[in-house]
Each structure stands twice: as structure tokens, then as C-alpha cells.
């Protein structure tokens, strides 16, 4: 399984229980596709707490945080 958290305006795309199933070869971009998150809305992704590009290869048990633009002051 992958643990996926969607933040701010992306919260509506969060999977039930915050988890999706993992299959070998999955990349961050595949998580967005699985959850129907438009790539344009995603500005930053962290995998296991590290800023990571969309082509990052995932491992079973990874924690993924997906963020939109946040710029309020």
C-alpha cells in the first residue's frame, strides 16, 4: 500500500483511509492518475518527506504528500 495525503485544495482527491494499493514500477505521476488529480493543480510532491519529481519510482509503503500552490499572506 501507499499512504497518500492530499493537502489544501487537493484534499478532495484524497483516497479513502488515505491509502491506495501499490504495484511495482509505480511512479508519483501514476498516483495522480489513479486519484484523478489534474497534474496542473499539483505544484509540489514529497515522498517520505522529501521533495520529489513526478517520475520518482515508488516503493511499497511510501508516504506521499501532494500540494497545490499556497501563497496567502
Amino acid at each position: 500500500m501507499l499512504e497518500v495525503k492530499c493537502f489544501a485544495t487537493l484534499r478532495k482527491y484524497a483516497p479513502p483511509e488515505g491509502k491506495i494499493s501499490f504495484s511495482p514500477g509505480m511512479r508519483v505521476g501514476d498516483v495522480l492518475t489513479t486519484l484523478n488529480i489534474p497534474e496542473k493543480e499539483v505544484k509540489v510532491v514529497f515522498v517520505n518527506g522529501r521533495h520529489s519529481p513526478l517520475n520518482t519510482l515508488l516503493s511499497d509503503g511510501d508516504r506521499i504528500g501532494i500540494f497545490p500552490a499556497v501563497g496567502g499572506g
Binding site: T9, K43, R50, H51, P68, A69, V70, G71, G72, G73
Partner: protein, 234 residues
């Protein structure tokens, strides 16, 4: 700490000791901070920096207070509606800390303003709103080799990070068109704004007094609905 030494400082700072040492307090009084934006984040940042004894503040904002600011902007009251935010900030600081030298700039800073002001200060606080302007502040601080402490808010979430000239930065959070910022949909409630601003001031004090930044190459992301704080690596 000896009472005689503490007595050298304005009496209003007495309760900073011994959290701060005499040396720390001297450093703060000798420091100059540029705070870009005197609205939500900026109002709380200035409240804290003036009360802790920063000696010089350059405060900039071209905006005027309006009713929709009352939900979160500490400088916004019924009395200050319609007034320029930087000027109101300077007035309030003079009432809290008359020893603090304040330079209010009642305009939205452009690239030329930033190029003139950033070299004059020890550290910059990005308390602005809007992803486009945040990108400009990051770029100018990197170019002019100053540290900037960034704060950003959207709804009950927000983050703080410190950027040094050689560090990674949070500019990916500021990518896209201006209206893409999540704050346009989720708003900016007071709890998030005040906490993010408070964390920004801690980075400023830590840098000025102890030459230590806790959030370089890191983002402290807060989700207040679940009281979650996540320390992420850029």
C-alpha cells in the same frame, strides 16, 4: 543575570530575560529587518518583532485596510479601515516600542525597491500575499545574498521556510498563475496566519541572536484541523 545590566535596556523588554541574554537583546536592538507586507502575516510578525526588541524595521505595503481584513489582520480595526497598512504598522509600533526605528513604505515594492532595500537589512521576512510576488522576493534575496523567511497560508494550512542564498527554496509552491494559489479558495483564517507569522519570527530571532536557522532546506508544513506539523525536506 544582573539587574544592573538589564536596566540598560528599555523597561518594556525586562520580561525577555533570561530567555534572551543581554548579548541577544543587544543584537536584536542593533538589527534591521525588512518585513514585506503588513497584512495578515506582517501584522503579527511586526507585533512580535517590535515587542521582542528589534531595533529597526522597514515595513512595506501599498494596500489599505478593508473590512474583509478584520478576520485575521491584527493591525486592522474599525479605526484603521481605509488607511495604508504600512503607515498603520508604523503607528502601532511607535506605541509599543518607541525605541524602535520604523521606516514605513506605503507602496507595493517593485524590483527596484527590493534592490535598494534588501542590502540595508540583516534579514528579510516575506509576509506578502500572492505567488507571483513571492517568487520575486525569493529571486531578489538570492541575488542580493540575504536570508528570507517565507510564510504562506491557505485555509487551515500553511508553511514556513527559510531560504539562504545557497539553499534550496520553496518556489515550486509558488508556481503557476496568480489565481492558482489555494488561498483564493480556502481563505486565510486567523489561527493559521498568526501561527505561521509566529514561526517566522522565531526563525528571525534565531538567526539574529544565534546565527542558526532551523528551516533551511526544510518546510514546516502545518495542518491545523488535525494539529499536524510536518517537517519536509526540499
Amino acid at each position: 543575570m544582573g539587574k544592573r545590566e538589564i536596566g540598560l535596556f528599555p523597561a518594556s523588554l525586562e520580561r525577555n530575560f533570561d530567555a534572551l541574554t543581554v548579548e541577544d537583546q543587544k543584537v536584536l536592538l542593533d538589527s534591521c529587518v525588512l518585513v514585506v507586507g503588513c497584512g495578515g502575516l506582517g501584522g503579527y510578525v511586526l507585533e512580535i518583532l517590535s515587542r521582542i526588541g528589534v531595533g529597526q524595521l522597514i515595513v512595506a505595503d501599498g494596500d489599505k485596510f478593508e473590512e474583509s481584513n478584520l478576520n485575521r489582520q491584527i493591525l486592522c480595526t474599525r479605526d484603521t479601515l481605509g488607511k495604508n497598512k504600512a503607515r498603520v504598522a508604523a503607528e502601532r509600533i511607535s506605541l509599543i516600542a518607541p525605541h524602535c526605528k520604523v521606516e514605513p513604505i506605503d507602496k507595493f515594492l517593485d524590483k527596484g525597491d527590493l534592490a535598494r532595500l534588501i542590502p540595508q537589512v540583516d534579514i528579510v521576512v516575506d509576509a506578502s500575499g500572492g505567488i507571483g510576488f513571492k517568487r520575486l522576493i525569493l529571486y531578489m534575496c538570492r541575488t542580493l545574498k540575504r536570508i528570507v523567511v517565507c510564510g504562506s497560508v491557505a485555509g487551515f494550512e500553511g508553511f514556513v521556510t527559510s531560504v539562504s542564498p545557497a539553499s534550496r527554496d520553496p518556489s515550486d509552491f509558488f508556481r503557476g498563475e496568480e489565481e492558482e494559489g489555494a488561498e483564493h479558495i480556502l481563505g486565510s483564517p486567523a489561527p493559521t496566519v498568526s501561527i505561521v507569522a509566529t514561526l517566522q519570527t522565531l526563525e528571525v530571532v534565531s538567526y539574529l541572536c544565534w546565527k542558526r536557522l532551523n528551516l533551511v532546506n526544510k518546510v514546516l508544513y502545518i495542518s491545523l484541523r488535525g494539529l499536524e506539523f510536518e517537517l519536509l525536506s526540499l
